[in-house]
Each structure stands twice: as C-alpha cells, then as structure tokens.
C-alpha cells in the first residue's frame, strides 16, 4: 500500500490539527486521518469553517482559512492561508465526523445589503452558510416537525461517507423507448395509512412497495425532487381553514448533493450516512427488480428566493456567480420562484455537472428530468443561447454517458422549446404537445387527427431524426389534474391552496363527462371510467416513452385541484384502497403495460414508416376530418424478434361505429386484447390470453371507446 506523506497535520488552531487542504473535490472528503473541506468563492476574502456538535446552537470551534496558526514542527505562530485560487481548502484531523455539523462564514469588500434591498453581493459574516456541496443536510431531519425558527443556522452541512455495499449493482441502461415511467412523490406514495407500510412516507416505504411496482409492470420510477428542501419554506396557514400549507412537492432546492433527510426513516438519527444508505438500498433493490430510477432535478432556482428571501448558502457565498442579477442587483425571475440559478456561468455549470456526476456515480441514478429546463439555455442576462454550454456539457459528459437526460422544455419566463430544445442527440423532452393533443382528442375535439397521428407515432414532426425516445409521452403528470380529475372536472378547483383559485393552469383541456366533480350517476361514472381507460390505452400504444402519474392506475383524485404543491394530506397521499374500489381501472392499466412490454412493435426506437398504416371506419381509408381514426402497426419486420400485427381503433365520436378491419395475411386471425366499450369482464385480457374475434371483418366499437386487436 502506498503511504502518503501529506497526511499529517502541519498547523494547529487551538485543539484542532490542520493542514493545507485539497481544492478538489469541493465539499467534504475523507482523507487519511482527516476531513478535507473545500469551498469556492470568487468574491470573498474572508472565510471561516464553523463546526458544531450536532444540533447545538453554539459552535464548537470557528477555524479561519486565513489567519494565525501554530506550526506543529516549530511551535511558532505564523500567518497561514489555506486557499488556492478562489477556493478555500483545509484538512482538519481527528474529527468525530458523525457528530459534526458544519458551515462557513464569509465576507468580502462589498457594502452591506439588508434583506429586501438589491445587491450584487450579500456578504454577512454574522450568518453561517450551508456548503453548496454538502452531501448531507441536517435541520429538517424528520418530515413536518416545526423547525426552530430562532435557529440562525437552520440547514447544516453533514459529513457523509460514500462507501456502500452495492453488491455488484450498476445502472440498468434500459433503452429509453422500452421504459414505462411512473412519476411519483416519495412521501405521497406510502404516507397514507392504507399503504400498510412499516416505514410510511420514506425511501424505505417505497422499498416495501417494490412488489407492487413489479406487479403493475413499470420499469422506471421518476421521483419528484429528493434533494434537500425545506417543507416549511413559505409555509402558511390557509386564510379560511387555518390548515398548514407547505412546500410539499419540494421544487425548491436547499442543497443539490444531499438527499432529503425527512424522506428517510433514518433521518431521525441525525446521521447523513444512514440517510444516504437508506436511499442507496432502495435504488439497489429497485435495480435488482428491473426498475430504473430517474430523479426530477431543479436547477433553475434555489430556496433562497428573491432579495426578500433568506440567506442559506449561495447568495452569502458568491451572489453574483450563483444567480442571474439585474445591473442593480435584483434577481431575475425566469423560474417564477424568485431567483434564477446562473447555470451558464462556468462555475455554476460545473456545480451542476459535479452534482449529476455525483448522483450517477455514487447513487447509481439512471437518469434525470430537468424541471423548467428551458432556463438552462439562457445566458447570464437571460437571453436564450443558440448553443447552451450547460446542455452541451451534460450531453457529452463521460460519466453521464448512459444516463437519461429529460427536459421539461419550457420555463416560467415564456420560453417554450418543445421540439426545438438543444438536444445534441441526447436529450429527451416531456412532450407537452402530446399531453394537450391527446386531452383534446379524448374529449372529442374534431379536426385534430393529423396531429393525433403525429403524437401516436412518437411525434416525428417534433423529433424527426431524434428517434421515438426523444418524446416522453404523458397525459397527466404531478403538475395538473390527475387522470380521474381530467374526466371529472371542467375547471380547476384550487380553493384549498388558499389563493382564491388563482393559482394553477386554466388550460386543462378536460371534460367532466356531464357533471362537475363527484357524482352517484352511474352512467357518468361509467363514462369516466371508460375515458380513463381510453387515455391509458392511447398512452400505452403510442410510440415514444409513456409516463404514468402515480395513482392514475387506480383512479386517484385530487378533488379537482390541479396544483397540489402545498398539501401534506389526502389531496396528495395515495389511497391504496382505490385498487379495490377501481379494480377494473387497475387491471386495465396493468394489462396495457404488460401488452406494451410484450410487443416491441409498440416500442420502435425509430419513428414508424412502412410499419404503420392508417384506417378509419373503412380499412385503408382514414377520414382525417372527424374524431375517429384507426392504425395498424405491422410488427412482422421488427428486429430482432418479429412481432404480431397490432390494430388500434380510436372512436372519440359519441356513437357506436363499425370499423372495417384490414385483411390479415393467410393463417392469421384477429384477437381482442382490449375494448373499453365492452362489459368490464371483457374489457381487457392478459397478453397472450386474448380471445379470437368472432367477426374477423368488422369490429363494432362503442362511442368514446378504444379497441386494441392483435393479428397473429
């Protein structure tokens, strides 16, 4: 073994033994005998490491990076400066790292700026700052416990060990077009008592539900933000009901390198390494069950808000580097959340890269979905860049080389880039046009069949040359109505958010099927159920990558609320009794997922060309003007495993219509996989178990129904 000669202290500060640290990597690193601390600031000339015993309000010690130290060899007091370039770096020996919390104080030659005032830099040496690279963050260790509002250092860095027994695990690298993504919120998935979980609302809780995910058949979970956030950020009481409203979804990052402690059952132990271990254990087990993990990451802004917001970290370290500022020092607000992270500044760009590399390398994350990603293509003054360096860097990064990169290709500043997001052959997009088109189609809007056809084929009009994997298809996501609400409400009902129903989108393209909200009317209920199945069927036979919203497979409702960002209650928690209550919907979803996974013809990596043909009520004669379309995918030429012929009839007209079926090759017969217009017992079949169709020439399809046939 090589013994290093630079692992001994050279300096002393009180009872602490030190030496010049390593600038790389930023954050904390374990070295032989010591912990290396490294933090960047271009503008600060004063930096102090502040160490606390866990939870203590009084620092254990404050060690300057520049100051007077005693030399270990001679005992002489000397001036020392632990800094290289713009990086303060120091190794501290013999720290009881599990009990330590740390932060920094910084200052620079800039005028003091008080809260609420604009400023280029906002140094305040009285404030202890969170390390932007902290791998564990304390202060919100148990979800929902009201914080100590007097704590001057509420989000505290913790030192986390990266070693973990992965037992040979590695990212799965499932081809994008083969994924069925399940978008979920860590807490919402199992917090409801009906989940029956031993560790509800946590990473460990999800692990208990892996058998469910397997049964459903999804092979990828996309976790809504899990980087440390503050559920109490801007928490308030509902003006009428007095209910506590919080930052529940978590789209507001405190620290980009730390998993949210409150999402770990082990968070209560105050040990960042155990939190990391719990999450890694979940990922390892998901992988061993064939399920990938994609993280929803929020790099467009931070939890520090605008000039009225709290100083947590970045703005007290180097405001001008981390944020997009007006010349006066106000925060640009392209995120709609107060500030905009300066992602195309080279330092911030590197932080984003370091962060994603860390999650890919140390947590075996399979991919990332970037919230409001259009912001990432803006220059430091907010103008859209033709060749955004951050997006290019991520696309070409070696460590992220096999990671899925998925953009939400719009931002709150009006930049809408669906179809023209800078892709570099790597980026996929949340296809907002798929969502809107299919919603309109489902509610029976006429004259959009040309666009519907594009969406069914993986949107070649948007992603020609990029393949079907570029299109993440979804009809619902966390943002907006659930599928049940999409067919139960014409309008949003967001009163519970305490903003007089002003928040949330008004463009929902929803249809309530005849009554706004809950009803006992059996006919309306049956129609809603059918519309849900129509949506699931369409989503799962479309080329591209289907994404399901958690609970849509069992008819979850948010009672018409299309923006439940602030609710830690039944509006977000998954009610597991719905599996029984809506057993038919669940079965339909499960079978459609299995059908998709059984048929490579539905998962072509390229946009179908000669494989697909278009039909109407007459075979080979589509009427592009109405509400009715059918298509056939001939999977016989699909390599390497030839598939069946699949025929899908979509009748969004309100009357029953006869569909003349295309004639099959000799010795082939049509089998019915799904018919949402049939009685519940004959609606859907397990793939391979489909009954043969009695009339091989014509299929009578009920109004507002979808039929899926297999020719073999």
């Amino acid at each position: 073994m090589v013994t290093r000669i630079d692992v001994y202290p050279t300096h002393r500060f009180g009872n602490y033994w030190l030496r010049m640290g390593h600038p790389f990597p930023f954050g904390t690193t374990f070295l032989a005998g010591g912990i290396n601390f490294s933090v960047f600031s271009k503008a600060a000339n004063y930096c102090v490491l502040v160490l606390y015993e866990r939870g203590s309000q009084v620092p254990l010690v404050e060690i300057p990076f520049r100051g007077l130290f005693e030399k270990v060899d001679s005992g002489e007091v000397v001036w020392g400066e632990f800094r290289i370039g713009n990086v303060f770096c120091m190794t501290v020996f013999d720290l009881p790292y599990e009990q330590i919390e740390y932060g920094f104080r910084m200052d620079g030659h800039y005028p003091r700026v008080s809260r609420g005032q604009p400023g280029i830099h906002r140094f305040n040496p009285e404030q202890v700052l969170l390390d932007p690279y902290a791998k564990g963050i304390g202060g919100r260790d148990i979800w929902g416990i009201p914080p100590n509002w007097e704590d001057a250092f509420p989000h505290r860095g913790r030192i986390v060990r990266d070693d973990f027994d992965w037992e040979g695990d590695r990212p799965l690298e499932i081809p994008l077009e083969d994924l069925v993504i399940y978008e979920m919120h860590v807490r919402s998935f199992t917090q409801d008592p009906t989940s029956g979980c031993k560790y509800p609302g946590t990473f460990a809780g999800i692990r208990e539900k892996i058998p469910y995910l397997k049964e459903l058949g999804v092979n990828c979970v996309e976790l809504m933000p899990i980087f440390e956030f503050d559920e109490f950020e801007n928490s308030r009481q509902h003006p009428q009901t007095g209910e506590l409203l919080m930052n529940y979804w978590g789209y507001s990052t405190v620290g980009f390198f730390a998993p949210k402690a409150g999402y770990a059952f082990t968070g209560q132990f105050g040990d960042g390494t155990q939190v990391a271990d719990e999450l890694k254990t979940l990922i390892k087990d998901l992988h061993s069950n064939g399920i990938e993990v994609i993280l929803d990451v929020v790099f467009n802004h931070t939890a520090e808000g605008n000039e009225h917001g709290p100083t947590i970290s970045y703005r007290g370290i180097d405001n001008q580097t981390y944020y997009m500022l007006t010349p006066e020092g106000y925060y640009f607000n392209f995120s709609g959340c107060g500030n905009t992270l300066n992602c195309n500044n080279p330092v911030v760009r590197n932080m984003v890269l370091d962060c994603l590399r860390y999650w890919a390398a140390e947590y075996h994350i399979d991919g990332f979905r970037f919230d409001l990603a259009a912001i990432l293509s803006r220059d430091p003054w907010g103008f859209p860049l033709p060749n955004p360096p951050l997006l290019e860097t991520l696309a070409f990064d070696p460590i992220l080389g096999k990671c899925k990169l998925i953009a939400e290709a719009w931002d709150a500043g009006g930049l809408y880039q669906v179809g023209n997001f800078a892709a570099y052959g790597r980026w996929a997009e949340w296809n907002g046009k798929y969502r809107d088109t299919m919603r309109k189609f489902l509610k029976g809007e006429p004259g959009i069949l040309g666009e519907v056809a594009q969406r069914l084929q993986g949107s070649p009009d948007l992603y020609g040359g990029r393949g079907t994997g570029a299109s993440i298809n979804f009809i619902t996501c966390h943002d907006g109505f659930t599928l049940m609400d999409l067919v139960s409400y014409n309008h949003k009902h967001n009163q519970a958010n305490g903003e007089d129903n002003r928040d949330g989108s008004d463009d929902n393209y929803s249809w309530n099927c005849g009554w706004e909200g809950e009803t006992d009317d059996l006919e309306i209920k049956a129609l809603r159920s059918r519309q849900i199945k129509n949506a699931l069927a369409i989503l799962l036979v479309s080329q591209g990558v289907p994404m399901l919203l958690m609970g849509d497979e069992m008819g979850r409702t948010q009672q018409g609320n299309n923006n439940t960002y602030c609710h830690d209650n039944h509006l977000n928690w998954l009610d597991w009794t719905l599996i029984q209550k809506n057993a038919d919907i669940y079965r339909f979803a499960r079978c459609c997922i299995a059908f998709r996974r059984a048929h490579p013809a539905l998962r072509l990596p390229y946009h179908p060309h000669q494989e697909i043909s278009w039909h109407g009520t007459q075979a080979w004669n589509a009427d592009w003007n109405g509400r009715v379309i059918a298509f056939m995918v001939d999977g016989r030429q699909v390599s390497p495993i030839p598939d069946n012929i699949i025929y899908v009839a979509l009748n969004m007209y309100w009357e029953t219509l006869p569909f003349e079926l295309p004639r099959l090759p000799p010795n082939y017969q049509w089998f019915v996989f799904a018919n949402t217009g049939a009685e519940i017992c004959e609606e859907v079949w397990d793939p391979g178990q489909e009954p043969v169709l009695s009339d091989q020439a014509t299929f009578l399809l009920r109004g507002r129904s979808v039929a899926i046939l297999v020719g073999r």
């Binding site: 009881p96 790292y97 599990e98 009990q99 060990r161 070693d163 027994d165 560790y199 460990a204 692990r207 770990a264 059952f265 082990t266 132990f269 040990d271 390494t273 155990q274 271990d277 719990e278 254990t281 390892k284 087990d285």
Partner: protein
C-alpha cells in the same frame, strides 16, 4: 455508555458480544476483533447484540466488512438486536445478509 467488544472462538464459531454505542469512534476496535476472528477462519459468526444500544453508519460498515472478510459462505447471526438496531439493519437492506434471531443456542 462506553463501547465494549468481546470475542471468543467456540469450536468453529466466532462469537462476538457487543455492548454500548457503536459509532465512528468505537468502530475501529470492533473491526480489530473481526479481523482477529477472521484469522481463525470460522464457519459461522455470531454477534450478540442485546447490549448494543446504538449503531451508527460506521458500525454498520464493520458488519459489511465482516461479511466481506469472512467470505460469503460464512453465516452471520445477529442475536437479539434492540428495536432501533433491527430497524437500521432492515432499512439498509442488511437483513438479507445476516440472520436475525431472538436468541442463539448451539
């Protein structure tokens, strides 16, 4: 409570008794005992955990170290862990590689 660790070899079984708090400070002494035990090439490792009050991530890593050091065919028993320790073992997936029992008699 201070940490203590005792190791005896009982025929082919290495028996290690842990008491107190197993954290980063005490983990090295546990690790040394495991190394001693491994040298005897036991067929089974039995950890008596009744008196163990707390196990931090560093302690957990010694268990993983033990598993790796002894080899996959050596059975590891965790005897009578207190509820908090048992939960830690469960949530970190360790319950699959150790056999958790309430009491141990050979």
């Amino acid at each position: 409570m201070a940490f203590s660790v005792h190791f005896i070899m009982d025929e082919n079984t290495a028996k290690v008794t842990l008491e107190g708090e197993l954290d980063a400070a005490s983990a090295p002494s546990f690790r040394r005992e495991i190394e001693k035990a491994a040298q005897q090439q036991p067929g089974r490792l039995v950890l008596f955990l009744q008196g163990l009050e707390f196990m931090a991530s560093a302690g957990l890593r010694v268990l993983i170290f033990a598993k790796q050091k002894m080899g996959a065919d050596v059975e590891v028993y965790a005897v009578a862990p207190q509820p908090g320790i048992r939960e830690t073992l469960e949530k970190t997936g360790f319950e699959k590689s150790v056999i958790i029992v309430d009491n141990y008699a050979d």
